[in-house]
Amino acid sequence: MGEAALVVENAVINITGFCKSYKKKLAVNKVDLSVQRGEIYGLIGPDGSGKSSLMKAIAGVLSFEKGSLEVLGVNVVSESSAEKIKGRLGFMPQGLGLNLYGDLSVEENIDFFAQLRQVSREQLAERKEKLLTMTRLEGFRSRLMKNLSGGMKQKLGLVCTLIHQPELVILDEPTTGVDPVSRRDFWSILAELLREQGITALVSTAYMDEAARFHRLSLMYNGQILAAGEPDAIRQQAKGCLIELSAEPQFEALNRLKIHYPQIEATGPIIRVFADNVPSSKCVNTITGLLTGVEIKTLRALDPELEDAFIALLRQGPLAGPTKKDNSVPRFDKPLPDNKSIAIEAKQLTKDFDQFRSVDHINFTVKQGEIFGLLGANGAGKTTAIKMLTGILPPSEGEGQVAGANMSGAAQTIKERIGYMSQAFSLYLDLTVMENIRLFASIYGVDRKILKQRIAWVIQIAGLTGVTGQLAGSLPMGIRQRLALGCALIHQPGVLFLDEPTSGVDPVGRRHFWNILVHLARVEQVAILVTTHYMTEAGHCDHLVLMYAGRVIADDTPADMIQALQNEAGQLLDITTDNPLQALALLEKENFKGVSLFGKHIHLLALDIKSVEKRIRELLVKQSIRLIDITPHAPTLEDVFVYRVLALENKVPA
C-alpha cells in the first residue's frame, strides 16, 4: 500500500478510459484525467456533458462500466473498495442546498455531518468555530437552513463537506444559481480553506468565466474531454484570432461577415469575430475588405476568451461539418411596431408580500427594438417585476405600460401582445416539437388561415428543421430552449419577456439563441426584456438595469456602466506572482479595493495605476514574492455588479 502510494507520486485522482452509461445512453465516454495533490481542478461543460457522472464515480457513489479509477491510492472497482476512500473525501452534490436539511438549523446541519463523520467533540467545536467565522455564517447558527439565501446555503454546504477535514473535496456545480457577489465570495473562501488545509479540490461549473479560478481544467462536452490543461493553454489550443469591431449599420456588417465567419456574435454595439487558423493582422485586412461601404468605427484584435476557444474547439472538433447557416431568416408577417415607441414602461412599480417588499418603486423604460437586461441576485425582485409587467401579479403600487396597454386594466390585452418564456421552459415534454408548437398556436389563437405559414416560420426562425417529430423531452437543452422561444413567438409579439432563458444551456446553444434574439430586435423591432445570471451574457444587452433588494441601483448601457466604474474605482489590475495565496493575503491586508483571487492571478481595482503598481511592487519585494506580471484591464460587467452590490451591502448592516 505504502509503496503504491509512492509510485503514483502526487496524483490524487488518476483515471483512464472511463466510460459510464445509463441504460443505453452513453454519459461519459473514454475519459482520462489526473489531478495532482493541492490542485483546484475544474470540470467545465454544459448540462448533460457528463461532469456529474464522472464526479459521482470519483466520489465512489456511482458505479461505472469501463476504465480504471484510482482515488487517493485506492483502485475503486467495487462498493467495498469505494468505502475505503470515503473517510478521506468530501462530496457536495449538485443543487443549491439540496443535500442539506431544510428543517435543521445551520449548526444542527454541521453537527449532523460531523457525527456522521465521527469528528470528536473537541475537534468539531474548534473547526466549526473557524469555518463559521470564515464563511461569515456565525451570526446565523440557529437559523433554519431553508431560510438562508442561496449564497449562504452554498457556503454552509461547503462547511459541512469540509467538517471532517478531507484530503480531497469534490464539489459539483457549487456556484450554479448563485449571484456573482456570492460566487466571488465562495471562491475566495474555497481558495483560502484549501490553502490552509492543503486540500485537493475537483470542482465543476457551467460558467465559462469561472475557468480562471482553476489551476487546471478539463472542458467537457457530450461525455468527452475536449481539451485539458491550464486555462491559458486551453485558450491557445483553439487556432485562430479574435477581432472585435463596431460598425454602422451593425446589422449590415453582421450579415456580410456571417457568410465568411461561422463564429460571430453581436454583443450590444460590438461585433466579435473568431477567425480560424489565421493571424490577426491578416484577418483585420480581410474584414476591412469585406466591409467596404460600411462605416467601421472601431476595430481591434484581442486574445480569445475561454468561451471563444471552447466554441472554436467544438466547431473544429465534434461539431465540425457544414454549419453554415441559411442567411435568409424569415420575416414577421405582421406590420412592425414603430421603433421609436416605448414598449415597456415601469413607473414606481412596487410589490409587497406580507411584511416583505419584493419590488420597491422601480422605474425603467424599454424601447421597441431594444434588448434590455434585468440583472440581480436571487431574490432581488427580477421575477416579481416581470410577473407584474406581464399581468400575472397585480402590483401593490405604481403602474406600467406594456405594448401600448396599461398593466392594471388590460392584463388580457397585454398577454395577447407579448411572448413569455420562463426559466423552466414551459414546454410539454411528452409532446413532440410540432405538437408543442401547435398547442401554443391554439392557446394564442393564431388564425387558422395563416396557421400553416406561421408554424413554418417558427420552425425556421428557431432552427428546428429536422427535429419536428421528436419528443420535446428527448431534445438537448439548447434545442429545447429554442423550441420554448419559438413557442413564445408563435403570435409574433412585439414584446418578449425572457426569464433566465439560458440556464443550463451550452455556449454554442447560447450563441445560437442570442443570434435569434439579436435578429428579432434589430430587424423586427421586437423589444426584449431578459433576466440573466450570466454576466458575459449581460454584455449582449443594449441597456441594463441592476436590481438589489427590490430597488434599481444602476440603469445604463453596459459600456457606460463599465466606464462609470472606471471613473469611480479605476482600472482592473491583473497581478501574477509565484505565490498567489500569500500575495492575496498581503494585498487584502493593505486594503486594496476589490481584491480577489482567480486561479494563479489576483485582481484588484486601482484608480491611479502607476502609483498602485509601484506600491504593489514594493510590498511584494518586501515579502520576497516574485512578481511575474502586472497588467491593467478594463473591468468586466461582473466587476461592475460585484462592486455596486458590495458598496450597498457594506452600507446596510447585515
Binding site: 445509463y22 459521482k56 466520489a59 465512489g60 457513489v61 456511482l62 458505479s63 467495487s78 462498493e79 469505494a82 468505502e83 470515503k86 473517510g87 473525501l89 468530501g90 462530496f91 452534490p93 449538485q94 443543487g95 439540496l98 443535500n99 442539506l100 436539511y101 428543517d103 435543521l104 444542527e108 449532523f112 455531518f113 457525527q115 456522521l116 463523520r117 465521527q118 433554519l144 459541512c160
Partner: protein, 384 residues
C-alpha cells in the same frame, strides 16, 4: 455497528419529522384519520333500509302485514305511493332501496284460503345489501305465514296457541353467538382495521422518508460518508418505528373507546405482536423506497402493495375459507392475514401465546425477510 452514527441519523430524522408540519401530520393524523374514516364508513350491519309501499288492497290484513315491515328496526318506512309508476323515480334516485307491492284482493284471497303473492322491487346495485334486504323480507313473510297457520290451527282444531306452535314448527333454532354476542360488525371491523392502518401508515412514512432524501440528493451525504448500510437503514427507520409503536397504542385506545370493542386478550402479548407487525410493515416501506425514485411513485406503490393485501387477502372483508384455492394461497403470502388472526384472537376471543404462536412466528419471519431484502438491495454505490 457504530451506534453513534446510527444515533446521528435517527436524531436528524426525528427533528426533521417534528419540524415539518406536513410530515408530522402524516405521522399521526394520517393513520388516525384513515382509521376513523374507514372505521365509521364501513359497516356491514344492514339497518334502516329505506322502502316505500304500494298497497292496492288497503284492508286490515294488508295493513297488518305491512306493519311488520314498518316496525322492523332493519327498515325505514318512507311512505305510501298510489301507483307503480311512482316507484321508479324513487328507486332510481336511491330515495328508497326497495318497494313492497300488495296486490288487490290480498285479504279476500287469504281469507278464502287461496295463496297470494307480494311483490318486492329491490335495488340490486349493491348485491350484498339487496341480498340482506331480501333475506329480511323473506323472514318477515315466513313469520307472517307461521302466525297465520297458528291462528288458523287454533280456531280450526281448538288447541292452544303453544300446541299449535309446536305443530307448525316442531324444531326451533336457538343460536347463541360467541365472542361477539351482539354480532356487532363494528367490533370486528374496528379491531381489524388496526391491521389495515398499521399496514398502510408505517410503509407510507418510511418510503416517503427515504425517497425524500433520494429525490433531493441528500442521500449522497450517506453514500459519500463512512456510515455502513445497516447503520443507515437502522438509524433512518428507527424514528418511523417509534412513531408506529406510539400509533399502535393510540389506535388500540380508539378501538376500545370510540367503537366500544372489548379487549379480552393479554395486552403485553398483543403489543409485542403489534410491534413485530410494525417492524414488518416498516420493512415494506424500505423495500418500496428501493424500487422508486420519486415521492409520488412511493405513495402510489405503497398504496397498491399495502392496501390490497390488507383489504382483500387478509380475511377482513371476506373469510379466507370462502375464497378460491389460489386466492387462499395468495392470502397466506401476506403478513396481514396472520396479524388479523392475532388481532381478532386477542380482542374478541381472548387468545394468547399458546394459540397464536404460529402467526407471531410468521410475522417475525416476514419482518426478517423484508429487512434483509432491504439491506441487500440498498447500495451506497448505485449504477444510476
Amino acid at each position: 455497528m457504530n451506534f453513534n452514527r446510527v444515533w446521528a441519523v435517527t436524531y436528524k430524522e426525528w427533528r426533521e419529522i417534528f419540524r415539518d408540519r406536513l410530515f408530522f401530520a402524516m405521522a399521526f393524523v394520517l393513520p388516525i384519520g384513515i382509521f376513523l374514516a374507514v372505521g365509521f364508513g364501513i359497516s356491514f350491519d344492514v339497518e334502516k333500509i329505506n322502502f316505500a309501499v304500494l298497497d292496492q288492497d288497503n284492508t286490515a290484513t294488508s295493513r297488518n302485514f305491512l306493519h311488520r315491515l314498518m316496525d322492523s328496526r332493519y327498515f325505514d318506512y318512507k311512505g305510501h305511493v298510489q301507483s307503480e309508476r311512482e316507484l321508479d323515480p324513487l328507486l332510481a334516485d336511491s330515495d328508497i332501496r326497495f318497494a313492497i307491492i300488495i296486490p288487490p284482493r290480498f285479504e279476500e284471497q287469504l281469507l278464502s284460503g287461496q295463496t297470494t303473492s307480494v311483490q318486492s322491487l329491490i335495488d340490486g346495485v349493491f348485491p350484498y345489501r339487496a341480498e340482506v334486504a331480501k333475506g329480511y323480507i323473506s323472514a318477515i313473510i315466513a313469520n307472517f305465514n307461521e302466525q297465520s297457520l297458528v291462528t288458523h290451527s287454533v280456531s280450526k282444531f281448538g288447541i292452544t296457541k303453544q300446541q299449535a306452535m309446536a305443530q307448525v314448527s316442531p324444531v326451533r333454532l336457538e343460536s347463541r353467538y360467541l365472542y361477539n354476542q351482539a354480532l356487532r360488525s363494528q367490533w370486528s371491523i374496528s379491531s381489524g382495521f388496526m391491521m389495515l392502518v398499521l399496514m398502510v401508515a408505517p410503509p407510507f412514512l418510511t418510503a416517503l422518508g427515504v425517497v425524500r432524501e433520494k429525490e433531493n440528493g441528500s442521500i449522497y451525504n450517506i453514500y459519500a460518508s463512512t456510515i455502513s448500510r445497516s447503520e443507515f437503514i437502522l438509524g433512518k427507520l428507527l424514528p418511523y418505528l417509534l412513531i408506529s409503536c406510539l400509533n399502535i397504542i393510540i389506535l388500540w385506545w380508539l378501538v376500545m373507546t370510540i367503537f366500544g370493542t372489548p379487549f379480552k386478550g393479554h395486552p403485553f402479548f398483543y403489543y409485542l405482536a403489534s410491534v413485530i407487525y410494525v417492524i414488518c410493515t416498516t420493512g415494506v416501506g424500505l423495500v418500496v423506497s428501493l424500487l422508486v425514485r420519486t415521492q409520488v411513485a412511493a405513495v402510489m406503490l405503497t398504496i397498491v402493495i399495502s392496501f390490497i393485501p390488507a383489504m382483500l387477502y387478509s380475511g377482513l372483508l371476506v373469510p379466507i375459507e370462502s375464497m378460491g384455492t389460489e386466492t387462499q394461497i395468495e392470502s397466506h403470502l401476506f403478513p396481514t392475514l396472520y396479524f388479523l388472526r392475532v388481532t381478532w384472537g386477542s380482542f374478541l376471543k381472548g387468545l394468547g401465546w399458546a394459540e397464536l404462536w404460529f402467526d407471531v412466528a410468521a410475522l417475525v419471519f416476514y419482518a426478517i425477510l423484508l429487512w434483509v431484502i432491504g439491506f441487500l438491495n440498498f447500495h451506497k454505490r448505485p449504477s444510476e
